[in-house]
């Protein structure tokens, strides 16, 4: 089975974010980037499904500028077979629906019966692209997947629920899954994997090649407009304790004893 995995490159978790003059975007220069956390779990899940079946192809797709090529390279080094980079400027700057439209076109062109996504891109945090994609493709989907195996006629899927519960269900293929972080341990990349990745093909289809008109994708196609982006107002009651470590420790203990009375 061919499995398409959608991965996004996002700023490193510890990155210092700065806003540009427009006050609606972060400054992208000098940031360090990584593959979105749950997307790494999605790649791992695809590789395990391929291994369990003993056949199949894992194709990773990312929509993003030139820098996002590195997310593809990392997935290829983990063991994915091929990459697709939606790098054309017309793809960039869209909202989740624009991204879902582009991914839907790739899924159709590739005729991939299974599409795996992460659950949430940790930058914008919409947590909706996989299910929008399922809606556009009219496929069954499961969000927050914590387990998946191929069975007769489709997939058996474990869905995470609130309050530490899980739902086990079966869905037919073709399907879309949003993979939740923690589903499986993610493998380390070997040197051999990194060397092999260099020879694997990465396609760069244009919107036209995918049959997408420019006003449905990217900046031109988006409905959601960011009017402003700013640090949150601090409404916290937090009392910051400052000084050298020993001074901080002494002050904290004193407060926990006298004010909070918890020690």
């Amino acid at each position: 089975m061919k499995i398409l995995v959608a991965i996004k490159q996002v700023p490193d978790k510890n990155a210092r974010l700065q806003l540009d003059e427009s006050g609606t975007r972060i400054v992208e220069t000098d940031l360090s980037w990584e593959t979105n956390e749950s997307d790494r779990y999605a790649v791992e899940t695809a590789l395990r499904l391929r291994e369990a079946a003993g056949e199949g192809e894992v194709v990773v797709v990312t929509l993003g500028p030139e820098r996002a090529r590195k997310a593809i390279s990392s997935a290829l080094a983990m063991g994915a077979d091929r990459g697709i980079h939606l790098v054309d400027p017309d793809f960039q700057g869209g909202d989740p629906l624009c991204v879902a439209r582009a991914l839907a076109a790739v899924a159709q062109a590739e005729e991939a019966p299974l599409v795996l996504c992460g659950t949430r891109a940790d930058d914008d945090g919409y947590a909706e692209t996989p299910i929008l994609l399922a809606g556009l493709l009219d496929r069954p989907a499961v969000f927050l997947t914590m387990g998946v195996e191929q069975v007769d006629g489709g997939l058996r899927v474990v869905r995470e629920l609130e309050a530490s519960r899980q739902e086990v269900s079966e869905i037919p293929l073709p399907a879309v899954l949003g993979i939740q972080s923690g589903i499986h341990e993610v493998r380390f990349t070997s040197l051999k994997g990194i060397m092999a990745a260099k020879k694997k093909p990465v396609g760069q289809p244009t919107p036209t090649e995918l049959g997408l008109s420019a006003d449905r994708i990217g900046k031109a196609g988006r409905r959601l407009e960011v009017l402003s982006l700013a640090p949150p107002e601090k409404k916290s009651q937090c009392e910051f304790i400052e000084g050298k470590p020993e001074e901080i420790a002494a002050t904290l203990v004193d407060k926990l004893r006298r004010e909070a009375k918890v020690l």
């Binding site: 974010l17 945090g125 914590m146 530490s164 409905r223 960011v226 409404k235 901080i248 420790a249 004893r257």
Partner: protein, 331 residues
Amino acid sequence: MAKDVLVVIEHEDGAPRRPSLEALSLARRMAQATGGRALAVVAGHGTEAVAQAVASSGADVVHHFDHELLAQYTPDGYRLAITPLIRELEPEWVLMGHTYLAQDLLPLISATFDAPVISDCVDMEIDAEKVVFHRQPYDAKLVARIFDRGPAPHFATLQSGAFPADDLPQDHGGTVDAHTIDLSGDRIRRRVLEIHDAGESTVDLSSAEMIVAGGRGLGSKEKFQQLIGQLVEALGGAAVGASRPVVDSEWLPHDHQIGSSGQIVSPKLYIGVGISGAIQHVVGIRGSQVIVAINKDKDAPIFNEATYGIVGDAEELVPAIAQAIAEARQS
């Protein structure tokens, strides 16, 4: 045309769930501002009482779909009831709480209306021209004000607790409109086999008096054990908690996880080290009497929850704090 707001109600044990009531409260505010109505939809089986409760709690009309194939939530069952209703009612907005069910369902519906979802909103501004929602991208390090420039219907989900439901009436005379729906099993593509607990839990953090919790910021399993261990020992015993990435990376078994997909805790003292304070973690610790946060980033959202905040490197701070606590307990 009046600008109606439709809330998709989730229910449990014969009553609407809290996130749905929070959405209803906001729907009433939005409807009031634009002269529209607050509408609701309940899908289920034997759920007449849920529909009645929602009508009493402030929905002007509750659309009720009762069918045996709706007894168990499935995206297809709910979608087949709700999508045609939206076409018929033409609401300006469709709202839900940002729950697991909403994330599994709502984008499926919005996609058929060529609309995205403004998800996980924490605030709203409304005036004659437009509705603007606030969300918190980058793990709540920033706030974005978002406007949907497409045509109605617009879709949004609301972060749990961000829009309090305290102002709902108890005896609102809303009506219940019972709909018939023609559903057959072959149109429901998800066949639910069972629902069970995620795993044996041997750690009960919910009744712990003192909890020391560590996050990914501790860097490794070894550092986690070392630094969290020092604090636990200094306190003369405390329960150990963790953020999700810590258990995902198998530094600690799953039943130590605190948060929306872990345990809800309410200790006298919670100390969080190297934890950023994402909403999914924070909802699990809000019942704590005193929260101490240690984080090297002064802008980490955990400080919005903390009683006492310490900005710095855990490796430098924790040994000093552990020592001071141990000494204080001995004196």
